[in-house]
């Protein structure tokens, strides 16, 4: 088969794979299916149409975003900053690596679990041709992203350094970076789904999954930090790289992606420092690693298309007993189990860790835990918790039809999901209480702020789940607006008690009164929302 024919043919399995991934990971898409895996043919058709449309345009939108992200670190020099390009190249590579990785993990999940297209194997094609088509459909997962980011990096480096050689080295660095990002995302998906499907009950598998989730969280949060602090990071990194004879500079010349950044930055000057030469050697090593990773990726893709990935061999199970719980607890347990089987949604299990970390960070430099600090930290923590109801509703997927066949009120579903969201918020509260042993509260009544936060998060979670399960979308724009309104409603419920505290404190300067009012409002919110849910 000619390469051009194989490329053309690969569009079909690629579309199918992207489509399946979008349906599988709708929780992470801005448009979301939000769990309304519907039995109603018209709604299902709407979902499929939307998924197909997104499958076509999602990659284009993400590619544009990756291209902008890859170009953003060069902005200071374009605007006249006088330092070299090493730090910008480093940050640009880090940003494109992380974004390609994020997109890859979402898109490659269905590739890993069921191969690109079983239909291909049934056609009268040679085995090598099938492998080639599958390989190309795999390449299509990130072609725009890689092309956009690498082109942007090459153009900016060539323009800023005026060196064709630097441009060529940037091209090599960009390709190495992309090959590694795609390889890592394939590996991450592969290991995660194998750990789920291969050793579901094993403690080792569970621990491995938790480590992967933490790694995933680091990537997600790392991207946020990278964008939030890019303006401060570039001069900081450039300062380190500008002092090549320091120990830090020497170490960084070996570390990815600094070595690539230093190489590109140094090549225009003919590698004047030893660190530049070491970085070039390291870059060559990374090129070899990228080559090996690419070969592994190709072999993996070939094995997926031949159906090498399969579930566990059936073992002998004699005990078929089942454990029973209350309906709400059973539903919550089902949610935890179902959500942990999907890498992006499984991130929620790592959320308490990050939430606690963020809250601790806010308070790290304060000698006491004043009311205002607690108020800000707990409100922010509460807002973060509100991601969970959305993820939990989304993780229902088509299986929701199974739940719908059971004699169960909507309240059972709503309470179970709100229970998880509130439980995830509790570690942050527990840490605040433990922390108060070291750093005393400004007033003993501050503990009321913690109580009010828990009540508000519970009420907001209930309201959000209720709203997400209760609406029927109509039209894409209306749908997006409705989603926003639902999230805003939850955020409002978390925010209101804090605002009441402020409103009560400013005129009276009475902390116990303000804290009491905050608890009162949060309690009223919770009672009101529980009543609303019970009526459904």
């Amino acid at each position: 088969m000619k390469a051009a024919d194989a490329w053309r043919l690969s569009a079909v399995p690629y579309s199918e794979m992207a489509f399946r991934s979008i349906l599988q990971n709708s929780s992470n898409m801005w448009w979301g299916s939000f769990g309304r895996g519907s039995s109603d043919a018209s709604e299902r058709q709407d979902l499929v149409t939307r998924a197909l449309r997104i499958a076509r345009f999602d990659k284009l939108v993400v590619a544009a975003f990756v291209t902008v992200a890859a170009g953003a670190p060069f902005l200071p020099q374009i605007l006249g900053a006088s330092y070299g390009v090493s730090a910008s190249v480093t940050l640009s590579l880090a940003a494109s690596f992380a974004l390609i990785l994020l997109y890859g993990v979402q898109t490659l999940s269905s590739f890993v679990t069921s191969g690109p297209s079983p239909v291909l194997s049934t056609l009268p094609l040679l085995r090598n041709d099938v492998s080639l088509v599958n390989l190309l459909s795999f390449a299509r997962t990130s072609d725009y992203l890689v092309a956009g980011s690498v082109a942007c990096q090459v153009i900016f480096v060539s323009y800023l350094t005026g060196s064709a050689l630097a441009g060529v080295l940037m091209l090599v660095a960009g390709v190495v970076n992309s090959a590694l990002a795609v390889g890592v995302s394939l590996w991450l998906s592969n290991v995660f789904y194998r750990s789920i499907l291969g050793s579901k009950k094993g403690k080792r598998g569970g621990a491995l999954r938790f480590v992967l989730l933490l790694a995933w969280g680091v990537v997600v949060i790392g991207i946020g930090v990278l964008f939030a602090a890019a303006g401060d990071l570039i001069p900081l990194v450039q300062g380190v790289l500008a002092s090549p004879n320091t120990l830090t500079g020497s170490i960084l010349s070996l570390v990815y992606p600094f070595s690539l950044g230093i190489s590109v930055g140094s090549i225009a000057n003919g590698f004047p420092s030893l660190v530049g030469k070491v970085a070039l050697v390291a870059t060559i090593c990374y090129l070899l690693v990228a080559f090996a990773v690419s070969r592994w990726s190709m072999n993996s893709v070939a094995s997926f298309s031949e159906g090498a990935f399969s579930g566990p061999g059936a073992g002998r199970v004699r005990d078929t007993s089942v454990s029973l719980r209350s309906p709400v607890a059973a539903y919550a347990m089902k949610d935890l189990r179902a959500s942990s089987a999907n890498l992006p949604s499984a991130f929620l299990f790592a959320l308490p860790t990050f939430e606690t970390f963020i809250i601790l960070l806010i308070r790290a430099y304060l000698p006491t835990l004043g009311a205002s600090t607690l108020l800000v930290a707990m409100t922010l923590g509460g807002m973060v918790s509100l991601i969970l109801p959305l993820v939990l509703v989304s993780s229902e997927g088509n299986g929701f039809d199974f739940a719908k066949t059971m004699p169960m009120r909507m309240g059972t579903v709503v309470f179970s999901k709100a229970l998880i969201a509130t439980a995830v918020f509790l570690p942050a509260v527990a840490v605040a209480l433990l922390e108060s042993l070291l750093k005393p509260f400004g007033s003993p009544f501050s503990v009321l702020i913690l109580a009010a936060s828990v009540l508000a998060v519970a009420a907001a979670s209930l309201l959000e789940v209720r709203l997400f399960l209760g609406f029927a979308p109509s039209g894409r724009a209306t749908f997006a607006l409705q989603e926003f309104a639902r999230m805003a409603a939850g955020a409002g419920v978390v925010l209101l008690p804090a605002l009441v505290y402020v409103a009560a404190y400013i005129p009276t300067v009475n902390h116990p009164l303000a804290a009491g009012a905050m608890v009162g409002v949060a309690l009223v919110e919770l009672i009101g929302v529980v009543g609303l849910v019970r009526r459904s």
Partner: protein, 265 residues
């Protein structure tokens, strides 16, 4: 009719400009296996989904053991075991986790549910995959898990949408025996199929659904009489009642001519 467990009256379901159901009436009594027989898109699955409470009708009503499926879905669903045409299950769960979830939500008693699960798991030979994620199971095994899920609470009404499609011969036989036992104990079964032999052998009554309505119903002799085809097979009766006999003949003739033309070339 005494002991009616399923009663649908004037059911309609409209998807845009398409009428999936167009005033469907049917009733299934205790002790009956009622087969819904019809071509693709005739409304079989829609009828079952409305009865199971998965979708709401555009108009009309359906009651299950006297409970309105739309107005009182909680009580109606407690009476039903439903198996979809394509198993709808939480695929990331294992069969054990799925059944735990279902038994808990239905509020079943532990000892009896464990006994029931063990019997059914043995009968359908799914013990070995009891702790494997459903996503990794074959279509037939998924179907077996869906059937067990529909049976663990011993519901009086079973709604089965093409239940025998993916099952192996042994499980096929076991399910048929289970259905017979179910109706002997006073239960009712409403199931859809387009396989005539199954409908002919298994059902006490057959409803021929076409264009979203029951165009004829009864046992085989009643259907023969209705079609005016004495001694005809169910397939012949079906073709006659759905006016598809001449259409099929024309299609076959065209295909035959096309095939011979191709060979002659």
């Amino acid at each position: 009719m005494a002991g009616v467990l399923i009663e649908a009256a004037g059911l309609t379901k409209r998807y845009g400009s398409f009428d999936a159901l167009n005033g469907l009436d049917l009733s299934v009594a205790s002790g009956e296996i009622y087969g819904l027989l019809g071509p693709n898109g005739a409304g079989k699955t829609t009828t079952l989904k409305i009865t199971a409470g998965l979708i709401e009708p555009s108009s009309g009503s359906v009651t299950v053991s006297g409970f309105d499926a739309t107005k009182d879905p909680i009580h109606a669903k407690a009476q039903i075991g439903y198996v979809a045409e394509t198993p709808i299950l939480y695929e990331s769960l294992t069969p054990r986790e799925l059944l735990e979830f279902e038994a808990s939500v239905r509020g079943l008693v532990k000892d009896s549910v464990n006994r029931r699960v063990r019997q059914l798991a043995e009968a359908f030979e799914v013990e070995s995959v009891f702790d494997s994620p459903i996503a990794t199971l074959s279509m037939g095994t998924k179907q077996k898990v869906a059937i067990i899920a529909a049976l663990i609470h011993q519901p009086p009404v079973l709604l089965l949408d093409e239940p025998l499609n993916s099952l192996d011969a042994k499980s096929n036989r076991i399910l048929k025996e289970l259905l017979s036992l179910h109706v002997q104990r006073g239960g009712a079964v409403l199931f859809s199929t387009h396989i005539m032999e199954i409908a002919q052998r298994l059902c006490s009554r057959i409803g021929i659904i076409f264009g979203g309505r029951i165009v004829a119903e009864g046992d085989l002799d009643q259907l023969r009489a209705r079609a005016g085809e004495k001694g005809a097979t169910l397939e012949e009766v079906f073709m006659k009642l759905t006016n598809e006999a001449s259409e099929v003949e024309n299609t076959v003739r065209t295909l035959r001519e096309s095939f011979f033309d191709d060979e002659g070339r």
